[in-house]
Symmetry: C2
Subunit: 306 residues, 2 copies
């Protein structure tokens, strides 16, 4: 089944398009996971505890959101043990019925790109099956031949991609806005063309785009440019974008469920306990409250557009 | 000690600027390593054999070249076990006196980029010390704030970076040549500015650039634009660039040793046994012969420019 169709089924089932980013930054983990920071302990033990934190987050959000997005850097920081933790976390997310978007931002040429596609989408053996992602983020800087092996993997497996088009950070303007038309528009047009052969029953492509929610009106421009491309929207919450800022990315499906985008929040959810608004709460209560707030806020904003 | 200084000391010691890329593509490994492709075997065992192949290559090239460049994709393809193999290979390369350039092409924002810098350059504990890289390749698409955490890591550790400026593949023109001035020139200017605070005793920066050797006269333009930037030159051999094509990247140091660049060959060396020129040879003999040929060819071309 086509990734976009699975994504929309999952959004409709949960009644929201919120994506929980799993960025288990060692320094930000709750006090009860302080042992992850204790470098005198064996790295494998620290990695197991890192996985445990993520698995507890998964338990809290399972059934409430369509997908989670683990960020590979925060696992790789613990080397091979961290990558084993990544695999445990991906398995736990699948077991909890969540789609998994691997935020790996890989980008390389020819057979190297094919190896990354195998690593994250296809696997080499049965052992891998449960620790693969449903979709991954990709960096397009190396051009079409760096994306094609992933498109092939998606045709074979029904998985999805999110190509970086315009990221949410301040520095994204340095190169992504270069030229006239600006580079991000050129990439956006390519995303549409790459995705044209991977369109699902619902009319959406499995080739998505990462478009920061922090750039105001640009989001509506990108939606016009990529009308059938699922968006992954970073920037909500901690990075400053509001529920109103993400509206331009959405359509309402026939069932009334939001279509065409996922709004990501990472530390705004998993590290909500560090925020003033949730001071004094246990981290799990803070996480649940922050997620409830996000769902209400975004669904509320979507309702006003009907 | 500054990365560029260490690099040049190592080039002078070996008498050449050849870089052996370790791309252990499962499908291309010699028959005696066919068990790596046997997906009925435990993944951990296959990964150990993958590491063994790379360690045997390292034994063959140690003392002959200044550095090796493992490509992370071909390790990640075996998941956490593959990353454990990566760490074994990096350790073996250090033990053999080789510099290690991790070809990871990572690129992400803020604390995520900092986590990647920790993962590959700094580590979180003593266990990591021997499996860290001397330098890594980076993708600049996300802009300055995606590079800065790596610059900070380099100031603290004396390590180095190679930023993708103009890659060797055909698709590199899709986005890297976009705009006027073309994007690769804008990135090149940024590379110079990012590297300006990390200049070693020899006058070269620790912030290098990846510039494909496959684009003819462009290489000399890039050298003028980035006069004190170490280049990593992919594209020699299998991808079609010749020894003459790489000359524009080099200067000759006071000792007569080549300065300012490394010429990479990956499958041209490690999979030389598959080439007609080495038909019938054992893979180790083919690898040694191909490396000797490369060293002679590039040093020969450099001699003609004196």
């Amino acid at each position: 089944m086509n990734y976009a169709d699975r994504l929309h089924a999952s959004i409709a089932h949960c009644g929201n398009a919120c994506l929980v980013g799993l960025d288990p930054h060692l320094e930000l983990l709750p006090p009860e996971f302080a042992d992850v920071r204790d470098t005198s302990r064996p790295r494998a033990e620290r990695a197991r505890r890192l996985a445990q934190f993520c698995c507890e987050v998964i338990e809290l959000v399972a059934g409430k959101v369509p997908a989670v997005k683990p960020q590979s850097a925060f696992f790789e920081v613990l080397g091979a043990d961290g990558v084993a933790a990544w695999e445990d976390v991906v398995r736990a997310a699948h077991a909890a019925g969540l789609l998994v978007i691997g935020d790996v931002k890989r980008g390389d040429i020819a057979t190297t790109a094919a190896a990354y596609a195998t690593a994250f989408l296809e696997g080499t053996c049965k052992e891998d099956a449960d620790s693969l992602c449903d979709a991954v983020t990709l960096n397009p800087f190396l051009g079409a031949d760096s994306i094609e092996p992933f498109l092939d993997a998606c045709s074979r497996t029904g998985k999805g991609l999110y190509i970086l088009v315009r990221t949410s950070n301040k520095g994204s303007a340095d190169f992504q806005r270069h030229g006239s038309p600006e580079l991000s528009h050129v990439v956006a047009d390519k995303v549409v063309s790459w995705g044209s052969k991977l369109v699902g029953a619902g009319g959406w492509s499995s080739v998505g785009a990462v478009v920061g929610a922090t750039h105001g009106a640009e989001l509506c421009d990108f939606r016009r440019r990529m009308p059938r491309t699922p968006f992954l929207l970073p920037g909500y919450g901690a990075q400053g974008a509001s529920a109103r800022d993400v509206l331009g990315a959405f359509e309402l499906g026939s069932s009334g469920a939001p279509c065409g985008a996922l709004v990501n929040s990472s530390r705004g959810i998993t590290f909500a306990w560090r925020e003033k608004a949730y001071a004094g709460k246990h981290w799990k209560d803070a996480t649940c409250a922050a997620l409830d707030h996000m769902v209400r806020e975004i669904n509320g904003a979507l309702l006003t557009t009907r």
